[in-house]
Symmetry: C2
Subunit: 407 residues, 2 copies
């Protein structure tokens, strides 16, 4: 029951990128669960990964391989098994799949980036993945974006994609990406999983800097259930096939044009994860303004977004706004003066000066909470800093999905 999630867009070929998809039968039969991205030689590849100390084996290998100068040529992705909490043997199995793909394609092992998502703590079924690799290589194509979007799904109900083009000095550039994720979503430095490719030519250091910055305005500002995944990974690829003079600084006008379009793609992919959040019936924007310092705004926004009481009230479309104030009060903000706090929901003033607004009527609250899209604006009355977080409500379906996840 995704909230306002559009159909997968028509994504044209991004020059320098080919995608292959196969069914390995890792967790379920008849499910696309292995995806391979082939990147042209010389592509710039940037990545950000989970900050969870229990990060998965493939995350560790990605970080190591990305740091080498060799250049990445293939992304190897499987769903159905996260290869996390698998200790040292997890590293061996992840590396084994890289070795097989390297052998089949004639590249070095270090130019393969592996990604896994699914159940934590069970051994990776290496043989199944190895058997699927040639099948995925057979159907490599520039037109496989939607198929790849489907191939990386776990509890997602729909594949998630986004595409933008922009013009710069008579040249057209394209950016396309896919993402997945619906539960264990509280990304910290990246989400599980996002892949965004462009035909722009860009230095890898610039691409990495842009990725890190934009992730903080997109994937790192969404939360479904406060649990940071062990496998979060977000990869940006610039193939250079658009033919521009290579971007070497974020200050170049072309870099700025790229950032604008890239941010749109990244936010759309991040929002898509929230819209398809496990059991989601609402898409909620939590905007905190009037903070003394930005970290206060970020903290309060996430605390509101994580509160089970706020989330169940959202599910019920119940304007139980007192729960939001209670969260603000317990968030531990230094110097908070509750008598200056204001609250708006979908444009209705609900609370003023720390209490119910004089003009507030219960019917306003009900009207404000009725839509699928809820915009909460909390003014702390302390300064001019702000932040935005996107989240979902908490429904019966969330409990059902997560109680029955492994069955």
């Amino acid at each position: 029951m995704a909230v306002g999630l559009h159909d997968f867009p028509l994504i044209p070929e991004i020059k320098g990128i080919r995608i292959g998809v196969a069914e390995a039968g890792i967790k379920k039969p008849n499910k696309k669960d292995v995806v391979i991205f082939e990147l042209c030689e010389g592509a710039s590849v940037a990545g950000v990964f989970t900050q969870n100390a229990f990060c998965a084996a493939p995350v560790r290998i990605c970080q190591k391989h990305l740091g080498l100068s060799d250049g990445s040529r293939y992304l190897l992705i499987n769903t159905g098994n996260a290869n996390a909490g698998t200790g040292k043997s997890g590293l061996d199995t992840a590396l084994k799949t890289c070795e097989v793909l390297a052998h089949e394609t004639g590249v070095s092992v270090e130019s393969i980036l592996p990604f896994s998502t699914g159940v934590i703590g069970e051994p990776l079924p290496v043989a199944k993945i190895v058997a699927a690799i040639p099948k995925a290589l057979e159907n490599l194509s520039g037109d496989n974006w939607k198929s790849a979007g489907v191939g990386i799904m776990t509890t997602d109900t729909l594949p998630k994609g986004s595409v933008r083009t922009f013009e710069f000095e008579d040249r057209t550039f394209s950016i396309a990406g896919i993402s997945k994720g619906a539960g264990m979503i509280r990304p910290n430095m990246a989400t599980m999983l996002g892949y965004v490719c462009s035909d722009i030519a860009m230095d890898v250091e610039v691409l990495q800097a842009i990725l890190k910055d934009v992730v903080n305005k997109s994937f790192n500002r969404i939360t479904v259930d406060s649990d940071t995944s062990t496998n979060d990974s977000c990869i940006a690829v610039a193939t250079g096939m658009a033919g521009n003079a290579k971007v070497t600084s974020v200050d170049e006008p072309l870099a700025q044009a790229f950032i604008a379009a890239f941010t749109e793609v990244m936010q759309e992919l991040a929002h898509a994860i929230v819209r398809d959040g496990e059991g989601a019936t609402k898409f909620v924007t939590v905007e905190v303004v009037g903070a003394a310092v930005e970290p206060d705004a970020t903290k309060v926004a996430f605390e509101i977004a994580h509160s089970p009481l706020v989330k169940t009230a959202l599910f019920a479309s119940d304007p139980n706004w007192g729960r939001i104030l209670a969260v603000v009060g317990r968030a531990g903000v230094d110097g908070l003066d509750v008598d200056r706090v204001q609250l708006h929901i979908n444009g209705f003033e609900v609370a003023r000066d720390g209490g119910r607004s004089p003009d507030y009527l219960e019917e306003h609250g009900k009207q404000a909470m009725a839509p699928e899209e809820i915009h909460v604006v909390l003014d702390m009355g302390m300064g001019s800093e702000s932040d935005i977080v996107w989240t979902t409500d908490f429904s019966h379906e969330y409990v059902t999905i997560n109680a029955e996840y492994r069955t």
Copy 2:
């Protein structure tokens, strides 16, 4: 569907304490919702209160009145309305009810301590409470403990009480208490609400010190849903009627004997809140050992207890232990070496050296997760500090209760 919650115990009269109960019809008809404790002159009264900055009006008044030297004579408690998020008029309404009770009983306003619990953000129905005060005073009695336990319930399914007696130098001392709470439970300095009375004679400073210390081992170590209430209050009363020489130091042998029995009462009351947690089907003890410093153990224990993914797995009796490791990894513990982490559930070794135990079988996990009482022991492998937190699972019933709370 309370988990292993025993019937309300037979609580004998605590000399110096009388309790009156009435129906004010604050939120629902035919529900006891006003409770008055009468304390004998000279009783020592200690209190700890919520740290939520949006603390309720009655909490502010309690803190002010407790700080005065006059001595507390009455506790005035209502359910159905929290008088929180009500701004300045909330203070006026709370004070008004104190004034009426003071007038009726001939004591000073400052010797009344008011407490409210219920919906946040709605004006306190003063007239209803004022009308109920004489009725409650009419039935003041030493035998009304169970009736008081019922009178302070909100979403609780059962009243919660605890009683202990202990002997010291041929004298018998009694400690009795009641508590309430089922949701918005993540006490910080106290819970919403607890009242514990003893006939011991004890200096108020000593009683306050003991209360603060024991709260940190009982109410401040439980969590249902991570949301700290605006109204948390825990009050300890020592009437002095047992006739002992007044305790003036925590180092006295009698103080130590009192602390032992008092801790049992406080933990039983705190556990009762968890056992009756909204929608609870499990009573879960999360014990973190092997931490380098105690705050790390506390933090990790609460993070595990708050994780929606862990809680829904507990609800399903699903040994999805990878979710527990994922929480440990994201908890932000400095210097965590995941390869040293061990996990036991109800005595079964599940994870060793950061991965699945070599001997682990899925059937062990299922067996471990089946009972209503779950004991998780997470060894961080970093040192010798530890802490314990008690919590519940996350069920459909929790969502139902909180989505329909105000209807």
